[in-house]
Chain length 252, copies 2
Amino acid sequence: MEKFITVLQDIKTLFNRSLSELSIDCVVFGFHDEQLKVLLLRAKGSDSWMLPGGWILKTEHLEDAAYRILKERTGLGSIFLQQFHTFGANNRYNGREIMARLGLPPEQNFFPERAVSVGYYALVEYSLVEPQTDMMTDECRWWDVNEIPELLFDHNEIASRALKALRKQFDHEALGFNLLPEKFTLVELQRVYETILGLKKGGLDRGNFQKKILGYGFLERLDERKTGGAHKSPYLYRIDPAKYGAYLRENE
Amino acid sequence: MEKFITVLQDIKTLFNRSLSELSIDCVVFGFHDEQLKVLLLRAKGSDSWMLPGGWILKTEHLEDAAYRILKERTGLGSIFLQQFHTFGANNRYNGREIMARLGLPPEQNFFPERAVSVGYYALVEYSLVEPQTDMMTDECRWWDVNEIPELLFDHNEIASRALKALRKQFDHEALGFNLLPEKFTLVELQRVYETILGLKKGGLDRGNFQKKILGYGFLERLDERKTGGAHKSPYLYRIDPAKYGAYLRENE
């Protein structure tokens, strides 16, 4: 309980330093071994799950706030965050409700009356990162995107909109290469796309997929084949960094 | 001067009713006759141009605020607004600077110290709308997107990012059809795309363009040709509404 009171006092102090009506929520997707997951936090002493989020400071650039908050809440740094939507339903957050949920008198509410939240998402290879809890959470772990539990506030909507944005961007901006080793086969690449897009194995037509991917113009076929599989050895490919850079600039 | 003081008092009252750190800016693009323009306001008694924008009220849904503000500042209603980015550089807006610009003592600043702004854009056929000034502006008119003057705050950045978002969405989501009469030729459609994408006549390859457009699967070729041109009469096309609806739902 003493710890709890300290936390509350920290929150009060935070609101004096923050743009009190504006928060940030981060949707971190983790890809590994043909699975797509999302990082969720369980609030201290409760069964309630939520996205990692926090309040923007008065003097802070919005982007800086996003990186700081993600780092503070999950321990994750050096991850590219992409802003995707701002959530502003007038009933999405209510300070008095939160007081009541914490067992505190709503009339003494020190949380904002309402808040608008800017959503950011990220995509990481989740075997490469180690999320950590902060003092406001008991647990911080990956959930399969198809098994997200009921979340606090409008966080289910935020997560689902982030997934849509990720899939759209992924499809248009050829992001799949970040999730593979330096040399890969076109079938491996196809599986990455199918996983992110929520399709089963073979859900994308192989011929069309390869035509599209090679049409980007930055894949280089190596004089090398992948060996060890059951079938005939497929060619390995890699990205031509200069051509990929040019492609990204053109499609920014 | 009396009018000016009334306006200031109105602004003070507004801040008591608003989420004082959060504003909305609207970038309205107007398409007509192979030209793409953007709607700008000239602030009362000044030479400074800006985007139509305003403050979100405490009890107001973010989307409702966007429509209300656009209506109040330009007279335009019934236009689909699309949120595209939230701008939060910590130096993008400064209440004291605005006081100084208005010839008022900065230490009596009643504007927010800083503000984060949510950007919305719209695309209209500009011969169909009639923008009007409000009491804070002297002029409200269309500017060619290639001749946008220096704007207040970070509004040049907001406008240029909106244009990028419009072009991206236009290209991916087949929006060109909204800007044509019911029956049109593929060449007319190509000119709409070229104009929005900032390309000169013939900037898109005709064969590739027609392949892409027909590939969407919702265009229907009529047994009817456009007559009156100098060359051989091209076929007219129209949209199959059911197929177009299915396409939009799939690509939402």
